[in-house]
Amino acid sequence: MSTRLTILAAIREVATEQAKTLAPLADDLPLMETGLDSLCFAILVARLEEALGADPFTSAGDGRLPSTIGELIAFYENALV
């Protein structure tokens, strides 16, 4: 599975578990408007670390954090290069 598909599947899985209603996951959707809360993001980041073997939130060098779905995917793709 590509990084993109892994991330989108994990987002849906966490939303289901935490009983959150997700907005359509377009690349320009701001993370704050996805329907996930900070606990969901925390779980998502931990799951993605297991699935992808990377945690760019901990290792990010320049301190710039993603704010949309597209940026989140790129954030991981860059970390995995």
Binding site: E17, Q18, A19, S38, L39, F41, A42, I43, A46, F57
Partner: protein, 452 residues
């Protein structure tokens, strides 16, 4: 001298012939202690000393305690398996100048003036007993890190909670060198017919077999010990009249499981700590304790300050040992237990340890309350909850679960358990990670190992 007498005198006053304490290796016949001992001529050299007691077998420890009380100024109860480094730290903390070591093992390499070997079987006393001290009994608190912190008790504080135990046959999973096990040992010496003790290399099934042969009526251990019994094929080798849990939070699930396993037994849980002593026993079969116990006019006074239980009684330790040690009691004579309680109507429930909280994005989670929710699921036999670091919330709740017999360790079970937790707990308290494990690590004291 205490007006209650020494441990030897009080053991002799416990009456009855044929009373005994048994480990796998030794049987200590209490009748014979009148003119026999385990320290030989070494006892005279320990007069007025401060003695580290570091023996292996618990029957040896019991025999040595009976000989040492009243003769030495201080006895330091060293945890089983203490290595030379820990013994040196204990000797320093307690200003010990003598060592009683196990005559069946090499003498530990530590620097003390006097060394005496402890050996069973009993041998005739070399000289008449000459007890003249109110001996201090020093023992480490159950804190996990840093140099050992010792508290001082006396036989009077250690036995203040006792009622006569004549004719009872006891068994315990505890080690008698720690407060909980020492309570059982002293109760037994002062009146019970027998006490069956564990051996460090003995499995649960084998120990249950020995308890069954001894026809023990009163059996005590931590909830973790009892969960092991519940998972053991040997659970029906014992037929207790009384099942007692202490040392950890007893949740409704383990209490109900033990009632179902031993329908003829009375299942109770006790609350005690090394510092505060025995505070109370709860006999109604439910987790926590009645809020009516929060009163200050009885033999044991209880109050809650900042959600933490404080206890005042004649069973508390005298003080912490060592120069510059903090005060054991507050200005009103209460000992701060560090155990967080929550009131729910007429019930108080133990929530966890003050220092043990997991901080999930600023919200506090006690591992114990999550474990109670997990243990309430019929598929779960035992669980352990701990923090997992997280860059978003600082930490998340993670859990390891031992499944009940016959439950499939699959994704469906995991989903079912987690769904039950999310229904019972706020979202941030429900585990975000759950792994199945074959068993959970236990400390030597029979408590679940907590992550640091």
């Amino acid at each position: 001298m205490s007006n209650l007498g020494t441990l030897f005198e009080r053991t002799a006053a416990g009456g009855g012939r044929g009373r005994r304490i048994a480990t796998r290796a030794f049987t200590l016949e209490l009748d014979r202690l009148a003119d026999c001992g385990c320290l030989g001529e070494g006892l005279a050299r320990l007069d007025s000393r401060c003695v580290l007691l570091a023996v292996g077998d618990m029957a040896k420890a019991a025999a040595a305690l009976i000989e040492l009380d009243g003769v030495t100024r201080r006895i330091v109860l060293c945890p089983p398996g203490a290595d030379a480094q820990l013994l040196i730290a204990l000797a320093r903390a307690a200003e010990a100048d003598a060592l009683v070591y196990d005559g069946d093992a090499p003498s530990p390499e530590i620097d003390v003036a006097i060394r005496v070997a402890c050996r069973l079987p009993l041998a005739p006393l070399a000289a008449p007993r000459a007890a003249r001290f109110v001996t201090e009994w020093a023992m480490p608190t159950s804190g996990t890190s840093g140099p050992p912190k010792l508290v001082a008790h006396t036989l009077a504080t250690l036995t203040a909670a006792f009622r006569p135990a004549t004719g009872e046959r006891w068994a315990t999973f505890y080690d008698v060198r720690r407060y909980g096990g020492l309570q059982i040992l002293l109760r037994s010496l002062l009146g019970a017919e027998s006490l069956t003790l564990t051996d460090p290399n003995e499995g649960v099934d084998a120990f249950l077999g020995r308890i069954g042969q001894a026809r023990a009526t009163h059996i005590s251990g931590t909830p973790s010990h009892w969960r092991k019994v519940l998972m053991s094929g040997g659970a029906h080798r014992i037929a207790p009249q009384r099942v007692r849990l202490s040392g950890e939070i007893a949740d409704d699930a383990v209490l109900a499981a033990l009632r179902a396993l031993y329908p003829d037994a009375h299942v109770e849980h006790a609350y005690a700590s090394t510092e505060a002593g025995v505070a109370f026993v709860v006999s109604d079969g439910r987790a926590g304790f009645p809020a009516s116990l929060l009163r200050e006019d009885g033999e044991v006074a209880l109050r809650v300050v900042d959600d933490v239980l404080r206890v005042r009684s004649n069973r508390a330790a005298l003080r912490y040992l060592g120069a510059g040690a903090p005060a054991l009691e507050d200005s009103d004579g209460f000992v701060d237990t560090g155990d967080v309680v929550a009131r729910n109507g007429d019930r108080c429930l133990f929530v966890g340890r003050r220092g043990g909280v997991i901080n999930v994005g600023g919200a506090k989670v006690h591992p114990e309350e999550v474990e109670a929710a997990l243990n309430a699921h019929r598929a779960v036999r035992a669980s352990r909850v701990f923090a997992r670091r997280n860059p978003i919330t600082g930490a998340l709740v993670a859990a390891e679960v031992v499944l009940s017999e016959g439950v499939a360790a699959d994704e469906a079970t995991k989903r079912d358990i987690l769904a039950a937790c999310r229904a019972a707990l706020p979202a941030y308290k429900a585990p975000s990670f759950l792994n199945f494990v074959a068993e959970l690590p236990m400390t030597d004291g029979g408590k679940l190992v907590r992550h640091g």
